[in-house]
Amino acid sequence: MGEKNIIDCMKLGIDIGGTFTDLVLLEPRSGKLFFGKTLTTYPDPTRGILNGLQELMSLHGKSVAEVTTLIHGTTLVTNAIIERKGALTALLTTSGFEDVLEIGREMRYDIYDVFIRMPAPLVPASLRFGIRERVHATGKVIQPLDEREVVKTLRALVNKGVRAVAVSLLHSYANPAHEKRIGEIIRTQFPTLAYSLSSEIMPEIREYERTSATAMNAYVQPLTSHYLSQLETILGDAGFKGQLHIMNSAGRLTTIQGAGKAPIQLLESGPAGGTMAGIFFGELLKKKNLVAFDMGGTTAKASIIRNGQPEITNHFEAAREKRFKKGSGLPVRIPVIDMIEIGAGGGSIAHLNHLGLLTVGPESAASQPGPACYNRGGDLPTVTDADLVLGFLNEGYFLGGTMKLSREKARAAIKKHIAAPLGISIEQAAWGIHRLVNENMANAARVHIIEKGLDPRHFSMMAFGGAGPVHAYHVARQLNAPQLIVPAGAGVLSALGFLVSPIATEEITSYISTLQQINWTHLQKILESMTEKGRQFLAKAGVPSTRTKVKVVADMRYAGQGHEISVSLPGSKLSAASIPAITRSFREEYRLRYGRDMEGIPIEAVTWRVLVSGPKTALHPKQSVVGKHTLPLKGKRKVYWGKKYVFTPVYDRYLLKPGQRIKGPCIIEEFESTTIIGEHGVVTSDQYNNLVIELS
């Protein structure tokens, strides 16, 4: 595919969420952004995409044919695993190790719960088959693959109605030959079966995690392939002729083929879009270090942006038994944007616990019945109810006035469940709920930041999500953040993030050795082959190798430790002469994370990653939203700021003039959210209509 001038590329981001499908169209020539929102359709979400697409295009007089790149993110994969709606999947593994997938790591995620439930494996015992073969840790074949047994087993499981096969053999990260041969047998003799090889999905040491990821990939493969081909068809029918890219969990884009092969990469595409949007706005505002804070209806998430890059982790779990309990899900070692999630959202329920103390969340009233103030039958007090009672929210302008809130119901719920039992006023109780949820979020964010050896005081906070801007002021103050930013377009933020994510692919190889003992010729060969693979992938996606960037990352540790840290290495050509530079990079990163160093202990590399990425999109958005009021000041309302009510000015965000400075306390309303600014904040609206709040 020929390359067009970047200026002519019309880019469209589409994010399918549980309730809404969001669209963002970027016209680079004018720098204009156009936003669209439509209901997600069930069971076929492509209908919703089509609706939204046609609506957006006709509204702005554009045609689908003008779109050169379309980027898509979806919760399809996540939901299929949570709801266990994947294909009937079998596992082929080394004989004697069929139960590894069920045995797991033998650890409890909650040490005080007698009634603990462990997640059931995606492949039941009856569909796990051992194959006679064995490879040693060095990659040496100890027992050859019994191909006849493979064929016999595959035949049997086709008869059982199995549609997908996961293949995960011991040490296949060191020598994938047996897995590859099984793949070949499936492709040639059982072409109807979808299959995933662990050496392709997650070629890393640690058999349980690798098998779990591979089983999960196989499990969602048939449904993802079906969905993606359907999507291609409907988009083609609608006149789309450009490149279709898919957002993955690490804030990178992949192709339809890439997504179809490794659908587990899509698990966290929506949240990743949020962080990438943070990077986008950070670039506009020249902020390289940010905490992206996203608070919605049931959860709050925080992620760190350092040097304009998301923090990536390889530890992720899908489908947790207990949503906020680490370790209660199925592990997937894929690169994901590192994020903490806690049960603190607008719908989080406040209650008095068995100690008689106020507690907020993690239980949520969700959208049904929703907070008491929604007047849909919920009578338990939530964070949104407290925010309404305090005057932070406007009962007549929730979601731009499309939804009327009941202050009376909110007051009644807080009175009944909190204020009356504690013998305090309704306002004091509401203030307590607001403070406590902020405290919980700040605590979680602080632990997350400190875990990385970073100092919260050096990070500006970027807030989004429906409830984010309502709470961010107090959370940012708790973290001693110097600045708070509430970006424009908060309602379609993930889709916006898609537009700035680079197309990229990460190749992985485990090669465990101390730096002193590395066979550099061998390593260089591995790195070159991974680079070549990555370049070929990008070439297929339309990025010529002259425009690709290659980054080598090694997961390293001091020999004897169990956790590795990922370290970006200088350059991609490595040899024995690189040892001092690699050592320096590792020790720098180690010191940063842990505040100390371990001189004299050998450094060991475990996994090598090569990230090949395409160019970044340069965006220069201009305002494209027009408001209805003529004056930014909408009026004043009574707001309870902890001790007493204060008449607080309320502004219309869409009418704020660039450069206009407003001292807190004040409230700024917009369609999707409300920004609260206390007395220690001064807000300025910048040229892109972002709110920048300096905190003192």
Binding site: G96, M107, L357
Partner: protein
Amino acid sequence: MSMKRKKSSLTFDAIELSILWSRLISLVDEAGTTLQRTAFSSVTRESADFAVVLMDTKGQSLAQSSVSVPSFLGVMPFLVKALIKDHFPLPTWKEGDVVITNDPWLCAGHKPDIGIVTPIFRKKKLIGFIGCIAHSPDIGGTLWGAGARDFYEEGLYLPPMKLFDGGVRNETIFLLISSNVRASRQTIGDILAQVAANDQGIRGLHRMMDENNLDTIDELGASIIQSSEKAMRDAIRKAPDGVYRSVYHADGDGIKEAIQFVCTLTIRGDEIEVDYDGTSPAHSLAINAVLNYVFAYTAYPIKCVFSPEVPNNEGSFRPIRVTAPEGCLLNAKKPSPLGARNVTGNLLHGPVMKALSQAVPDQVQADCGAAVWVMVLSGRRNDGSEYVEYLFLAGGYGGRKGLAGPPTLCYPTNVANVPIEVFEHDAPVLVTEKSLIKGSGGTGKYPGGDGQRFAYKNIGTLPIHISNVTEKINHQAYGLLGGSSGKKGNLYVRTAAGKKRFTPPKGHDYLQPGEELVMELPGGGGYGKPKG
């Protein structure tokens, strides 16, 4: 006392208390996180075998890091109270002091667990203590296991001493430690990480006190302790009063010196008393436990049953008393060897749950295929380099009302297994099987979880030294309310010629080249009568 309570509950209302309390837990968690991530000790890191505890000036605990194994329940306050009483009276503490000790009777029952205590000063006044305890990479002596013959073979003993005196490093102690342990850099590194974790906790506390205009933590502490104690007492009060007895048999050495636990659990009003009179005397193997460790593993199942969600602090344990005759297996004295006291501690939930099942049958679980088996392998690879590998393996979990027991799950301690691929990479072994033993869990309406078979072969040219600590080779995990017992475990070596040979269930042995060690872990007990 009642006057003071009233005052403190006035000082902190339900909202204030909730906010400040979660902040305290958050700041000890921050300290704990850093400690866990920087530790060399695989036990500290992988199994969260550490705790950071914030205490008031009386040594009463206010907050404990939430990721932590049961071994440390109540241990740190016990230590600090003893330090104040017998070693360093309150007026002698200076800013910049740091005390170190691994005294098993003051800390967690064996020498590898090192306690580090730092006083907290605010405006030149002592306002409390922060302490952490963690499993060190090495402490000298024989390798960890049940094999030591007495206390002195178990390595370096560190009585309570000032590691830092008013901010000045005591180089003598550092030199002494580094000259007496294997992997001295890692061991010293971990000790310094503990010191740093305390400092981080102190910084977090000052920040929190600054923001909230607090000068002391006494009032806040009193409120926290008071409400936790009340919650625990309320929960116990719901259980029927009575004296509940249980007798529990276990392997001991698995050959000729079996052990028995006799547990008399008395629920009286809102208090629980557990007495172990009748339990076996101290054992010749290093499986003896000290009383504060026994307290931790007795209080743990009680907490699981009655108030799993009350945060750990002084108050939650006040209503529990634990006693055992002096010199017995559960109240061992010098010079009894203590190294593998974990296997004994890990069995105590058995007799405790069995006694509790008579009072609150709906809230307990049937016995688990515990204790977790620990195997330490050491030796040289073909190229002459040394290795030491720890293996942890779990049996089946017990059935509970409404739920079958999951297979292969740790209880009561919590340790991740070592991945096969990592194990084979680190040591000259080939794992030949890791699979569930179908039907090894006891039957029942809610069956017990299955145990596992794990076998590996020495594929090197040199013998591998193995230290075995197994359990339930001769005894079964009991079922409850009509559920049947789980299957026993089994342990043997298959020689190169294919013959079975004996290897001690607890103790040392050599696995010769070509020999295979086969471990069959016990299943959990079933709960309730099976249908039909």
